[in-house]
Amino acid sequence: MFVYEKKLQYPVRIKNCNPRLASVIISQYGGPDGELGASLRYLSQRYAMPYPELKGLLTDIGTEELGHLEMVGTLVHQLTRNLNEEQIKTAGFDTYFVDHTTGVYPQFASGYPWSASTMQVTGDIIADLTEDLAADGAMA
């Protein structure tokens, strides 16, 4: 099971809001190569894994990705605090705001909602690990 630890993995302290930046960073939260997909990819692929080293690795990386998800959510939250009317109308953020206001919603930068179609769990460990390489290469 998972136990919440009330801290971020790395400090996030943003002083100045920037809704335009938030509308791009949201893709790292719920985009095709974002942290939500990363954590679900590793944590779902591990059931097919026969090797103890890799059962551990998929569990531990998937868990760390949940910590990354929290950091990226924090980035988006802090970038969109206390916006004035002009800032809400920022090109790129206005279309996000109309649906989600300043809530943190897992979506692509394009606005498409997070989708399990961006990841794969084949039950074939070589195929899964190869997919992990491509996905983690894309998200860095």
Partner: protein, 152 residues
């Protein structure tokens, strides 16, 4: 121990790893990180996002690590990030006695740092919330909250 060669020698440079001499076709490979790889201390581990200089591949030629404020919170984050990093390394190098010894040392330091952090800032987990005289789990700030000018 290197699973490919059964040796503890380091045939490759620190930023390189071993590969199987004969490998099945049509399967991609990732070089295997060697035992005894160079390591950063905890502050530089957190600032660089990896414990291992050989795995530090900054994108867009950004070579300077971030500078972090030295406070109780970042000290704890640094120690726990080392636990994460060394833990991942040990998942695939569990017979590296030197790395495990380091893991034990950092684990002790992290436990102490957690205790000190909780005494100053309140519980990190619900389990430790039970050790306080009152229920402090709900105390602000939550991790995503940071007020302008906070801590300045």
């Amino acid at each position: 121990m290197n699973p490919d060669t059964g040796t503890t020698t380091r045939p490759c440079g620190d930023a390189c790893g071993t590969m199987p001499p004969c490998a099945p076709l049509a399967v991609p490979y990732v070089p295997f990180q060697q035992e005894g790889s160079q390591k950063y201390d905890q502050t530089n581990t957190l600032a660089n996002g990896t414990m291992f200089p050989g795995l530090n591949l900054p994108f867009h030629l950004k070579v300077d690590a971030a500078s972090l404020p030295a406070n109780r919170s970042t000290q704890l984050q640094a120690l726990l990030f080392v636990i994460t990093e060394l833990g991942l390394y040990l998942d695939t190098h569990r017979n590296d006695a030197e790395a495990f010894q380091l893991f034990q040392q950092y684990s002790e330091m992290a436990r102490n740092a957690k205790k000190q952090y909780e005494e100053a800032h309140g519980p990190l987990t619900q389990l430790s919330a039970g050790q306080d005289a009152a229920y402090r789990w709900l105390d602000d700030p939550w991790p995503w909250e940071f007020e302008k000018n906070e801590g300045e």
